[in-house]
Amino acid sequence: MISAAYNFAYLDEQTKRMIRRAILKAVAIPGYQVPFASREMPMPYGWGTGGVQVTAAVLGPDDVLKVIDQGADDTTNAVAIRGFFEKTARVRTTTATAEATVIQTRHRIPEEPLTAGQILVYQVPIPEPLRFLEPRETETRKMHALTEYGLMHVKLYEDIARHGHIATTYAYPVHVAGRYVMDPSPIPKFDNPKMNDCEALQLFGAGREKRIYAIPPHTEVVSLDFEDHPFRVQEFAEPCALCGSTGVYLDEVILDDRGGRMFVCSDTDYCTSHRPSGPDDQSAAEWENAR
């Protein structure tokens, strides 16, 4: 069996130790981007190489792993990474948020509130929140060091000047523990309030950019805004078409080429556990057809 040739969770122990040291430092300085010697992983950059390395470093044999991609447990990225750790670490996997001890995520925070003892691992494409305004790494590091964060508001100013409101809807910059400005990875800003005072440990891994950062449990996380344009999350006019939940993040699903559409929970686990009726339900059939 091929998996017998791999060390537990694919990475060798020295590498995992190196990553854990970076994680410890990141937890000690919330929001600070710690450089680490990112390894080549058996997947392309942009598919979660950073998140996978962090998961591999924190995973133990008794952990229960959940992997989501845009909230869904059944998309390619989520299935592939879950399969990867089933094979290389032989850990138990689940789709239920409450059962999981480690959750690796791409672009969402689960709807169900996280609890103490859980670890949420984010896959991060570009860890530097100032990057699109200041291309020089030496300069952005200096700006972080000297807490010069005016530039972040220049971006928000541009949004309002162009669109009349803060049009940034994902990767919305946050101020962590009153010190570092941090990119929360491309999660919708809908999820930003969930990061504040969260009971779970949140770890962020960027494989290509070789950075790890963290938000320890119960840390203050504030979304940046203007006094006269306060931070606001997206609101949805209708409840989820499948489970009827409100106050959750919805995805738009195109049903046909005649303008038919429905809005359903992006968190598939939350949606299935909140569905009032069985799979013979009318909308559920439409949903299955749409897929």
């Binding site: 305004l133 200096k142 000297l146 010069e148 005016g150 530039l151 508001h153 220049v154 971006k155 100013y157 541009e158 309002i160 000047a161 162009r162 805004d225 203007f226 006094e227 006269d228 344009h229």
Partner: protein, 277 residues
């Protein structure tokens, strides 16, 4: 541009503010900068008083930009002392300030106008954001106020307020330069460094820009250190000037005295090389 003595400078010259006007804002002594064996500038001493415009003239390679960068903490000098009188009245050695203090000074109490506006502007954000950036950097967090302040400054530098949401890319060279000036003045600085602010502009645009600069300097009581190879610019804007050659200051004094009655042979050569139309 004519170099006639009657340039109407009297109004600008009389505008120095009364308070603390007898103490220099910036004092430099024994400043030298070497690039290996080559000399950038050697043993320069000068002082700039509040509300005063000092021009540094000389040909290309004479060390004027090196000197300016050394004054503005953009280039660490090899030796010498640069002292600045802070807003609280204390005199500080600029190269003993922490980097955070230097950068704070740079974006609040100082301005730096580059020859090429692309170096001084953020080209991928709107004119309004360019003007507001310094205010946001010092903690302004009210969009409406930022915007009205930006509009006010754009109008002050003769850019229509309707262009507030345009990228600087959509601006002409002269407008970009004026935008750069507005962006620097928005925090009410006391000292502005200018590196050939009119370089690369055509003559009529140059004339308008100089006119605007002279008015702003007079209205706001700014102290300015301006580097130029164009003696006409020095004549129009500055009260005092220094002539540099080979990294050393060879002559200094009142602008009108130097241009009308140059003592050093090199200065005489420089003044006589001005093209007459």
């Amino acid at each position: 541009m004519s170099l006639a003595p009657e340039t109407g400078l009297d109004t600008a010259k009389g505008a120095a503010p009364a308070a603390d006007a007898d103490l220099p804002l910036l004092r430099v002594s024994g400043l030298s900068k070497f690039y290996g064996d080559r000399v950038g500038c050697r043993d320069v001493s000068l002082a700039v008083w509040p509300g005063e415009v000092l021009a540094i003239a000389g040909e290309s390679g004479s060390g004027k930009t090196t000197l300016l960068n050394c004054l503005a903490t953009r280039l660490t000098p090899t030796s010498g002392v640069v002292e600045y009188r802070m807003r609280d009245g204390s005199v500080r050695d600029l190269y003993r300030l922490s980097e955070a203090e230097q950068r704070l000074l740079m974006r609040t109490d100082w301005g730096f106008v580059h020859q090429n506006p692309i170096d001084g502007l953020r080209m991928n954000v709107s004119a309004g954001a360019n003007v507001g950036e310094r205010l946001m950097a010092v903690g302004a967090r009210h969009y409406g106020k930022l915007r009205s302040e930006a509009e006010r400054w754009l109008e002050r530098v003769e850019i229509p307020a309707s262009r507030i949401d345009d990228d600087p890319r959509a601006f002409s060279g002269g407008m970009r330069q004026r935008l750069q000036i507005a962006r620097n003045l928005v925090t009410g600085p006391r000292l502005i460094f200018m590196d050939e602010p009119t370089g690369g502009l055509d003559v009529s645009v140059q004339a308008r820009l100089l006119d605007l600069l002279r008015q702003l300097v007079a209205d706001l009581g700014l102290a300015v250190v301006i580097v130029t190879h164009d003696l006409a610019v020095a004549r129009l804007l500055s009260h005092r000037m220094m002539v540099m050659k080979g990294g050393e200051v060879i002559e200094e004094g009142l602008t009108d005295r130097i241009l009308d009655d140059p003592r050093e042979p090199y200065t005489q050569l420089l003044v006589s090389s001005i093209l007459q139309v």
